[in-house]
Point group: C2
């Protein structure tokens, strides 16, 4: 293999005209973008008085999605949603997105492959347009592995927030109430149903009601929390409530108690039966709702930007040797809540917990 | 495969403590970084009056490097150098780097794999320290493909430049002189020698004199060109002089003539013999030198920031139907210079040229 004599990745893709065409489609003007796709760097002009926020997230075939299972629009949507949700969690406003995308050469050679790519960008673009986020650049390459190559994406989101005001994980205080947006466990429930069917969903007529395929990053809620000073600390629920709450607790130096009966469980999760529904809500992950802490004295609205807000517990003082998280059960007991596996006090969950301390 | 039940990528890597340790190593303070690794986004504070520049570049095993050929320090170095060189080409100053890194699970399970990762970061860090670029975040994941998984990296560089002053590809004008930094063809020559030997270079005592393994991004030259207003247009030589000059010509709406006898050819390329040396200098790629245009009236220094500057030709008026690039040969003739394959007027190079128009 002659590395430098291989077709240059960008050129190889560009020859088919597909990527260049898609990139042109995205070059619609934005005041914040002084220079978009087509130079060594893009140039952005953040608003005066703002800090710049940056997040990157992989979307790798076989790890984060399956081509035989996920419709391509959902892959594009989720790729962008992962980055947007991180921006939302800081209460920030997205300024621009950058996409590094590697594709198997075979996809570009076949019309089915090209159709997949077009549908990927269609899903990506619909979400980008909804939140007025321009795609300002990135990289393209042929993925390694020849015929067995897979789709590899890395999304970069640049956001802005007024200086010193971005919401962090670390701002939670003892006595704060804990809130979540929307409903929990829906993404895990939908994925579980997809895996049971083991059949690819070919077309989805609407993105609504598909918490796994088309999660909604809570940008408007995040911006509202920041602007109205309604939150001390915030994180998005990408890894699951129990895992992300543990991050917030550790960063804030507090512990937390969740009230089981308060958890807003997604209707798709409720279909699984009460036990599995609770598991999905606590540990399911990829709901991309926001979890935030606010002083108990704040009269929290029941909804923000059209999204329901539910109080699910509170932050407490951390006691040496005490559990990081507990859950008030319907029977009045307070079992420990373990990140990533509430009921599994043996096996992986326990090992993970010990190591994480 | 249960997607959401797989070990969470970050946690899986974190269990070994290796990545977290490396990330801690990089968290050294920088005034420009308000918040580094460990929240949903990093927060950067660009200097007042500056625009923000962004570039992303893949480094994929099997496309951009081979684990059986490249020493790991060189892979880390080149990964970061690709991004830094894009920042240099705009005359900008790097503010922070972000690294998305996916690794095969097997690498983390074996000490040889962990040693590879440590050496990768050692090379990455040496270059980052040299240019005082903090690693402010990124993403980690297990790469797809199980045992056959490969190392996948995507580097993001954030840079800054005074408003409206960043160097672009598009600023070249008719009559401008064309210059390059350093010497050309060295990277292709070194890689070619490595491929002939087909033996992995285990340790490299010094990064100097290894234009392929340890290219030097020309940040100081770029900043100097911008500050001293010495360039109208600039691009870095990542794809090779002929390809990158074509980008500059198209963006600037001009054509170019190169003087063959003026080309500064790297000593490693000269070892290949005159014909191959010229090929390497024109089309080799990955030299990461800067190519820039400046008004002929400017008295250009012979070196900037310790790097030699060589005049190699000039920009001319584009004539309809005329070639985009020509080369003044030693015999006084002016053959067309074709991007990516000067002597190959048939085959891939010609096809590429037609499509690119």
């Amino acid at each position: 293999m002659l590395l430098h004599k291989m077709p240059k990745p960008l050129r190889a893709l560009g020859e088919l005209g597909l990527i260049e065409q898609i990139r042109r489609d995205f070059s619609a003007g934005s005041k914040a973008i002084t220079l978009g796709i087509g130079d060594d760097c893009a140039i952005l002009r953040p608003p005066a008085g703002c800090e710049v926020l940056v997040t990157t997230d992989f979307t790798l075939e076989g790890r984060h999605f399956r081509r035989d299972l996920h419709p391509p629009e959902a892959v594009g949507h989720r790729c962008l949603a992962r980055g947007l949700s991180d921006v939302a969690a800081m209460g920030a406003t997205p300024l621009a997105a950058f996409l590094s995308l590697a594709l198997p050469g075979s996809m570009l050679a076949e019309s089915a492959g090209r159709a997949w790519i077009e549908r990927f960008f269609s899903g990506f673009r619909a979400l980008a347009d909804m939140h007025r986020v321009p795609l300002a650049g990135g990289d393209t390459s042929e993925s390694p592995g020849g015929k067995n190559g897979v789709v590899l994406a890395d999304i970069v989101l640049i956001g802005t927030a007024p200086k010193g005001e971005a919401l962090r994980r670390s701002g939670g205080g003892v006595g704060d109430a804990l809130y979540v947006t929307g409903e929990l466990g829906g993404a895990a429930a939908e994925l579980s149903a997809m895996l049971r069917r083991q059949r690819r969903i070919l077309h989805v007529p609407t993105t609504e009601g598909h918490p796994h395929l088309f999660p909604e990053p809570r940008l408007d809620v995040g911006e509202s929390l920041l602007r109205r000073e309604l939150a001390n600390a915030c994180i998005d629920l990408s890894d699951g409530l129990s895992t992300d709450l543990a991050h917030l607790c550790r960063a804030s130096g507090v512990c937390a108690e969740i009230e089981q009966t308060s958890l807003p469980i997604h209707p798709l999760a409720l279909k699984l039966g009460p036990k599995a529904a609770l598991q999905a809500a606590l540990h399911g992950g990829e709901d991309y709702e926001l979890l935030f802490a606010a002083p108990a004295s704040i009269l929290m609205p029941t909804s923000l930007a059209g999204v329901s807000i539910t109080r699910i517990g509170s932050l407490k003082k951390r006691r040496s040797g005490g559990p990081l998280m507990t859950m008030l059960a319907p029977d009045g007991s307070h079992p420990e809540l373990v990140a990533g596996g509430w009921e599994h006090f043996s096996g992986p969950a326990k090992r993970r917990r010990k190591r994480a301390r």
